[in-house]
């Protein structure tokens, strides 16, 4: 939110040679994440999650919609059913494994879609300026005024039979407004930097300046915003499913498993706790990575961390 690029203040700090200035190459980002315990844990957690999701059909003992029988309804966690069973006697661990697949897929694809659309929209607006900028950004202002949850709810209610890919489209196309503002701010910030003037003075075309100088500069902050966006979509999709408006049952997602237990929180606590933990853990891991990525962009903001 409101990420104003910080200018490194070296007034009291030792000369510039000591404060390492990062270029923002892929290697810098990777080093920022991997060179830190929190980052390593986050990467490991997400890798494990993705692996489990990919291998869901191999690992899982049951099928996600298999009913185990009336005597196995709402069973608390046990050795046979480590995460318990739900009110319809389905194995929660199995459903969670399959749910991971769908939840992560939606989150990653939708956030990427938002990132790309937002980057192009904002960088174009900021670099071209003038009437085009005004037009593009006023429309963003308008969309930002509609609370995203309501916008998504409205769309989902109007298209009741939305496939998971349709959901990706809805979530992705309602998530780029903030990203575009960020990209525009970046583009505006470098539009008057002297190396851009130098490129113009050399006779480089506007399109080439946009592609070679402006977009790469907006890429870092957009990458961070997109990473944070993964967490947002994950939680939003879970929320939709929790309200029964996301992915159609019986396809499991983390949110729909929580929803399955929403009539009896007190009794079937495992239906709330395990998917909740998965959500929180993933969200934390994604945020931790975003946080590490930010260090590359604003090296100064995090003293001693």
């Amino acid at each position: 939110m409101a990420d104003t690029p910080a200018v490194a203040n070296l007034a009291i700090a030792p000369p510039a040679t000591v404060v390492a200035e990062t270029v923002g190459t892929t290697r810098d980002y990777w080093r920022a994440i991997w060179g830190n315990t929190g980052g390593k844990v986050a990467i490991a957690f997400l890798s494990l999650l993705i692996l489990l999701a990919l291998l869901a059909s191999v690992i899982a003992a049951h099928s996600p919609s298999e009913l185990l029988g009336p005597e196995l309804t709402s069973r608390p966690p046990s050795w046979a059913y480590p995460f318990g069973t739900d009110v319809l006697s389905r194995d929660v661990l199995t459903r969670m494994l399959y749910g991971t697949r769908i939840s992560l897929r939606i989150a990653l694809l939708a956030a990427t879609l938002s990132g790309v659309v937002g980057l192009l929209w904002g960088a174009t607006a900021g670099y071209l300026g003038g009437a085009i900028d005004a037009l593009l950004m006023r429309s963003v202002d308008m969309f930002l005024a509609i609370p995203r949850v309501l916008l998504v709810l409205t769309v989902v209610s109007l298209w009741p039979d939305l496939s998971p890919d349709g959901l990706v489209l809805v979530l992705g196309l309602t998530g780029w407004f903030g990203v575009s503002r960020l990209a525009r701010a970046q583009a505006l910030g470098i539009r008057h930097r002297e190396f851009v003037s130098a490129a113009h003075a050399l006779g480089v075309s506007r399109y080439r300046v946009l592609v070679r100088h402006v977009v790469p500069h907006a890429l870092g902050p957009v990458l961070v915003a997109t990473t944070i966006g993964v967490g947002h979509v994950l939680v939003l999709e879970a929320g939709l499913s929790f309200l029964g408006l996301g992915v159609r049952p019986p396809t499991p997602t983390w949110g729909s498993i929580i929803a399955d237990g929403s009539e009896s929180y007190q009794v079937t606590w495992w239906l709330t706790v395990f998917p909740g933990m998965a959500l929180i853990g993933t969200s934390l891991a994604v945020n931790a990575i975003a946080h590490r990525l930010r260090v590359v962009i604003h090296p100064r903001q995090l003293p001693g961390r």
Partner: protein, 363 residues
Amino acid sequence: MTVPPSARGATPLLSVRNLATHFPVRTGLFGRPKAVVRAVDGVSLDVYPGETLGIVGESGCGKTTLGRSILRLIEPTAGTIEFDGVDFRALRGAALRGMRRHLQIIFQDPFSSLNPRLTVGTTIKEGLLVHRIAEGAAADARVAKLLDEVGMQPAYASRYPHEFSGGQRQRIGIARALAVEPKLIVCDEPVSALDVSVQAQVINLLKDLQKSRGLAYLFIAHDLSVVEHMADRVAVMYLGRVMELASAGDLYREPLMPYTQALPSAVPTPDPERKRMRIVLSGDPPSPANPPSGCVFHPRCHHPARDASCSVIAPPLEEKAAQHWCACFKQPPTVVPWDAQKGAGGTHPPERHLPVQALHQRG
């Protein structure tokens, strides 16, 4: 220093006439401009091939805007720019981009003038590729040669800007400008961000390159001693206007404009023995959004003949001596008749005022 013969009678490389660049200050309803900042307000000057025209002035005088307006990095509001016989302001699109290789620019800030994400080699090569001067291995060879020419190791081409000091970055910026083989380079305060010892290196480099390549410079700076050292002729700017224009020698020996007279006297010199007679100008330069009427310098002026007419009549830039132009009708000779001055409330007739002769005497 004398004016090079080429500057007299020869055809100018760059000819700027009545150039104005105004910026709207948007505050009104619907973003309509309420006020206008007259950053550059009617500037005319010539730059001859191979010479250095210095532009001096304090911050806010419009010297940087002037440089960028001439290159059309900022689009001027009015006036003409003729470069090498071509009406530069009329060019559009590909024709404009093609012409740009002949006019280059070097910036003040060695940190913001290089894209931190591109290697030194890529930065220098950009112009070569755009203008199809060289490609592939030939381009790399050109980059190596350019780096060598500005006093850096060719191997530095694969490094990033942050690995270099301010002075080295400035050299890289110079190499980028040289790559497209320009005829004129606008040097926008190229040494003011550098330390004294490094500043001298860059000044010498610029002088060497001028000699070896026959470059013309428009050299913008606030530091009088640097400009005097670099320039053949100097234009003094105040509030978007040229107040005085003369050869560097004439200007420092016999400054006519009261503002120009005060400038060198304000510069501290590393000579504790020198007896100083200092003209301390009172007050701040006014805002270019709201310039004083008549002569824009009149509120701070110390000329003994300053009177009410100075706030009414805008002084024309007139030739007071051979090749010495000055905008002050209290400094004779003048084309503004005394009657006209009296009509505008004038009480003191023009008189020659040269207080600075005393300044240059050693005690």
